[in-house]
């Protein structure tokens, strides 16, 4: 832990990020938008339905919607925060100097990624008081909230790693950002489309319920964040999916394995490619 907070790149990045007014206005607007959404929803549910009270099932619906909004936030903001970490240094001509210091490539990459994630985490944590309003009305268990936060962490880490990797491999920030958004759209959107296609294909000419296993459909569901989030929010959806794919493995297990590997692979590649391999020609 001490090493984490003495990482020079991390300390410097945090200093630079929090000296920037944009960081605070970003959080302010995020909280305003979230408050308007939550209080608006509660207002509509209590006054317009004529009941005068907020039911636990409505509270759960609000929680689910907010959870998806947070996921959207992670998916859309993480690439923008991470895909420029190394390439911006390169463009500003500060990278060469940094690379001649005695910091290891891992320290540099780790410091860069952690500082970007720290900002996003601050954003999520700052929204917690608004988020926790749903507990006032019941319908959501604290353990469910914990699982969802762990899910957020893993998703955030994976996308941040992809962003840092592209930022290291690609010279121009704009191209690195596009590549990271491309990867994010593939993981969150294209896999959902492939899931639908593979479910359709596996069910062709069959009567319900399914009789043959469809691991491909299960795989696409496993790596799709919105699908996994759905099974965390609504566990019966998991059983429903299993009746279609006949694969008895919970989605979160595959998701964890896949995204941990993706994170490790991306970081490893970024660390390896940050500096030239001086001995390569030998």
């Amino acid at each position: 832990m001490k090493t984490l907070f003495t990482n020079p790149v991390l300390v410097k990045e945090l200093k630079l990020r929090f000296r920037n007014l944009k960081s605070f206005t970003g959080i302010l607007f995020y909280l305003i938008a979230m408050s308007v959404f939550v209080f608006g929803f509660i207002f509509l549910a209590t006054s317009l339905t004529g009941n005068g009270f907020f039911r636990p099932d409505e509270s759960f619906m609000l929680f689910s919607m907010m959870t998806y909004i947070q996921l959207g936030l992670i998916l859309f903001i993480t690439p923008a925060l991470t895909a420029g970490t190394i390439s911006t240094e390169r463009e500003k001509q500060t990278l060469n100097i940094l690379l001649t210091t005695s910091q290891t490539s891992f320290q540099i990459i780790f410091g860069k990624m952690t500082s970007s994630i720290a900002f996003l985490l601050l954003m999520i944590v700052s929204g917690l008081p608004i988020y926790s309003l749903v507990f006032l009305y019941g319908g959501v268990s604290p353990s469910q909230l914990l699982y969802i936060f762990l899910f957020y962490m893993l998703t955030l880490l994976a996308i941040a790693s992809i962003g840092v990797m592209f930022s290291t491999l690609i010279r121009k920030t704009i191209v690195a950002i596009i590549a990271t958004y491309g990867a994010m759209i593939f993981l969150a959107g294209v896999t959902a489309f492939f899931l639908l296609i593979s479910v359709q294909v596996s069910q062709m000419g069959m009567t319900s319920p399914a009789t043959t296993m469809s691991p491909i459909a299960h795989f696409w569901a496993t790596i799709n964040p919105p699908a996994v989030l759905l099974t965390l929010l609504q566990p019966p959806m998991e059983e429903q999916l299993q009746t279609v794919t006949l694969v008895p493995i919970p989605l979160w297990i595959g998701y964890t394995i896949f995204y941990v590997l993706l994170t490790a692979g991306s970081l490893l590649l970024a660390v390896k490619k940050l500096r030239v391999n001086m001995n390569k020609y030998k």
Partner: protein, 311 residues
Amino acid sequence: MIETIGLTKKYGSFYALQDLNLVVEDSTVFGFVGANGAGKSTTFSILATLLQPTAGDTFINGMSVTKNPQEVRKQIGYVPDFFGVYDQLKTDEYLDFYGASYGIKPKERAELIPKLLELVNLENKRYEYVDLLSRGMKQRLCLARALIHDPKILILDEPASGLDPRARVEMRDILRELKAMGKTILISSHILPELAEMCDSIGVIDNGKLIAQGSVADIQAQLQSEKVLRVKIIGDMQAVVSFFEMDPFVSQLVELQGKNTLQFFYRGSEEDQLQLLQRAIQQKLPILSFSEEETDLEDVFMAITKGVEIG
């Protein structure tokens, strides 16, 4: 000590650096001179572990740059030709960040930073934002940054480029001070006189090849073995051109536009030069004057790197 052995860098079929053999002794200042694109920055990038050579190797205090880059980084302080700074960092924070990057403890850094700022005459800019400093100040700050881990070797790529005359003088004074401190300094420039007075030895690089190496006086003598001669003509220019082109000691003959004058490099001795003139007179060539051009160190450098016309 810095030693490069057969250092080569190739991009496709283009040689940015070809078989560079160089030795820089401890506590000396070595000037690396060459036109833009000659291979100076490529050499420095390899020395700074930023570029991988195609062949050969470099040793910094006996450590191979290709086999032991992490250790080499601790031994060198590198100032690139172009560099940026982090906006929104103050001068002392900038140095503190790099001090931490070299693993220097916070207490030591706090003692070191004022001393370094004093060395580069920036003590009154300690709490100013780095991006608000002038180019000359940034250059000096970058030099202080390169010194933060007290390296034995300094690699300075065009440290005076883009500076106004006053900033150049200030930079030169600091380098003199560093030389007095016993640092081994490898410094590049495309302007030879800029380096001549402060260097113990210099190397001239052209098209990726080291074409001369030695003390400033040696290099000057070596390069000045080629004289520049000027011949003013009245009448048939072509006959005179043909005559001089035939001489084996004449090279790079050019006609100075609108001046009825020929100019060329001459490698022969004074006796050869006398005979050349006598032959020209015997052949009754329309020569009005025959003179040796005054050349300074800069002209000689330009001559050997075949850059531009002299005069």
